[in-house]
Symmetry: C2
Subunit: 314 residues, 2 copies
C-alpha cells in the first residue's frame, strides 16, 4: 500500500506491506489525516519512533461502510483497562503513529475494535480528522471544573490552542485567548471569543485557570504569572527537553499544575455534531498522500495551522 514511513528520515513508500487483521482489531481504510506538531517532533527524533506516523484521522470500515475515528492508545486483549481513560495511561499501551504502532499516513491502518467511534452523518471527513486533538482539548474539562464565573485564559494560538479556546468557550466562562498571531486569533474572534496578543498582557495576576498550549518552554512562566493565588495551570504542551521552572513560585502561590493529554472522543464528536466548535477554519492546506513530504514541509512553515492529507477519496 501507499504510506509515509519514518526510518532515518521520512519518505513516501508506494509499496509498504498492508496491515494484516488481528483478533479484536479492525482494518480501517484511511480517508483523511491531519499533521500534528507531535508528528513534526517524531521526524526530529522524539520517542525514537520508526514506522508510519499519523494519529489524527478518519476512515471507513470496509465491511460495513461505516465512517470511524479511533482513539490512539492501544492495549492488548489481556489488559485490565476497560475504557479510554484507563487505556490512555495504561503502562503497557502502544500509541498509534507515535509509539511502537503504525499510524494513519497510509491507505490502511490496524486499530483495536474498542478504540473505534462511529462518525455521525452531520460530521464531515474534514471535521472528523480533528476529533483526536479536539478530544485532547475536551480533556481539560474532564480534569478541571470550569465555572461560568471563572476567568480562564488560553495561552498559545497554534492548532491545539485554538481548539482549547473553543472548548473552554462552551462553558460560558470569562475567556481570553492569548497568542502571537493576529490572523490565528481572528479565527477565535469570528466565533465571539475575546483575544489579545500575549505581549499586551496587562500584568494582572487574576486568572482562575490558564491553559498553557504554546508548545514552548517559555509558556510555563507566563501562564503561572497570569494566575491568581491558588489558581490552576493546565499544561498541554509537550516538547523535548526541560523547562527552567520557578517551582518556588508554584509553592508560594499554592498553584495547581495539571498535566493534560488525551481526551474523550465521544465528547469531541458531540461538539462537532452540534456545531459547538468550528474546526474547518484551522485547515491551511491539503495534499495527497503521495505529496506527504511537501505536506510536512508546509506544516513546519511559520504561520501554518492544520495540514490535511487526502488519502483515499472515493
Amino acid at each position: 500500500m501507499r504510506a509515509l514511513v519514518l526510518k532515518d528520515q521520512l519518505s513516501f513508500d508506494p509499496d509498504y506491506p498492508a496491515p494484516a487483521p488481528a483478533p479484536g482489531e479492525a482494518i480501517v481504510r484511511v480517508t483523511r489525516a491531519g499533521i500534528c506538531n507531535t508528528d513534526l517532533e517524531l521526524v526530529k527524533g522524539y520517542m525514537g519512533f520508526r514506522g508510519i506516523p499519523g494519529h489524527e484521522f478518519v476512515g471507513v470500515l470496509e465491511e460495513t461502510g461505516e465512517r470511524v475515528v479511533a482513539e490512539i492508545n492501544c492495549v492488548g486483549p489481556g489488559s485490565p483497562s476497560r475504557d479510554w481513560r484507563e487505556r490512555s495511561q495504561d503502562p503497557g499501551r502502544d500509541t498509534l503513529g507515535i509509539d511502537r504502532r503504525d499510524g494513519a499516513f497510509a491507505e490502511w491502518v490496524r486499530v483495536p475494535l474498542a478504540n473505534l467511534h462511529r462518525v455521525p452523518g452531520a460530521v464531515s471527513d474534514d471535521e472528523a480528522a480533528f476529533v483526536e486533538p479536539l478530544a485532547a482539548a475536551c480533556q481539560i474539562l474532564e480534569q478541571v471544573p470550569i465555572r461560568p464565573t471563572d476567568r480562564a485564559r488560553v495561552l498559545g494560538d497554534g492548532k491545539l490552542g485554538l481548539l482549547c479556546a473553543q472548548v473552554l468557550a462552551t462553558t460560558g466562562c470569562d475567556l481570553l485567548a492569548l497568542g502571537k498571531h493576529p490572523d490565528k486569533l481572528a479565527i477565535l474572534e469570528r466565533r465571539g471569543i475575546r483575544t489579545a496578543l500575549a505581549a499586551d498582557w496587562s500584568g494582572a495576576r487574576d486568572a482562575d485557570v490558564v491553559v498553557e498550549a504554546t508548545g514552548s518552554p517559555a509558556g510555563f512562566d507566563l501562564a503561572r504569572r497570569m494566575l491568581r493565588p491558588r489558581g490552576t495551570l493546565v499544561l498541554k504542551s509537550t516538547f523535548a527537553g526541560l523547562t527552567p521552572a520557578d517551582l518556588t513560585g508554584v509553592v508560594v502561590d499554592e498553584i495547581a499544575v495539571i498535566g493534560s493529554r488525551c481526551g474523550p472522543f465521544d465528547a469531541a464528536l458531540r461538539l462537532l455534531e452540534r456545531k459547538q466548535v468550528d474546526v474547518l477554519p484551522l485547515i491551511c492546506a491539503r495534499y495527497p498522500l503521495e505529496q506527504g513530504l511537501q505536506a510536512f514541509a508546509r506544516a513546519r512553515a511559520p504561520g501554518a495551522l492544520k495540514v490535511l492529507m487526502d488519502i483515499s477519496p472515493f
Copy 2:
C-alpha cells in the same frame, strides 16, 4: 529590647526599639522560637528582608498570662480576608519575620489579634514552637485528600519532611518516608513510620501521592518519577532559583502538581495536644537569644534539625 537583627548581615542588638502596640494588634512576649530553613535563606538574601527574622514561636500575652502562637500572614484591618486561608494568600499581606514585618527572634513581637491562637495546657513551649511548620504540613491534607488505601511517599528527611511524614501517618495511608540520613529517618521509624533511603528506591512508579520536601531542585524529578500516572505531587520546597523540570513528563503522565505553603494552626495544635505527632525529637540544639549567631551557625551545619532559641524563660 534584645533582638537578632538582619541588616547587611545578622547581628545581636541588645537595645533594639521595642514594638509599640497598634489598634487590633497584640504585643507578645516571646518565650521560645525555632530557626527555619527560610531564616537561613533570608540571611543569604532571599526576599531582601531587613529587620528581625523569626516566624516560628510561642509567647505570652502580658495582660492575661495566656500562652499563644501566631499565624505569620498579617493583613490590615481594611482587608477583606476573614480567615487564615484568605490571609495566607492576601496580596496585601506582610509576613512575620519574612516580608516587611519584624519577627520573633526578640523579646517582644507585635502581631494582629486575629492571628493569635491560645496554646492548650497539654502542649509545652517547646512543642508550641513547632506549630507554624506543623501547620504547613497539615496544609497538605487541606489540599489533597489522602485515602487510607493511598500509597503516599514523603521525599526529604529535613525538619519539614519529618513533620509532613508524621502528619500523613495520621491518615493510616500506605506511607513511606524517603531521605538521605538514617539518623533522621530513625525518628520516624520509632513512630512506626516505614522509611527508606531515597538512593534505594526500586524505580517502581506506583505512588498515588508524593510530597516533595527535599528543599532542593533535584527533588522534583525524583518525586515525579515515583508517581503513578495521574498521581499527585505536593510541592513544599522553596528555594531561590529555577528548577530544570520535565514538564512534558507531567503532561504525558497527566500528573497534578500542587504547591503547598502555610496551614491551619488549630489543626496543628490539636495534633500536638492529642500527641498524634511528636516534634520533640526534632530539637537538636538550643541557645539563648544572645547566642543567636551561634544558633544560626548550628542550624546551618550538616545534619542539623531544629535549633530553638530560649528567649524569655520565666
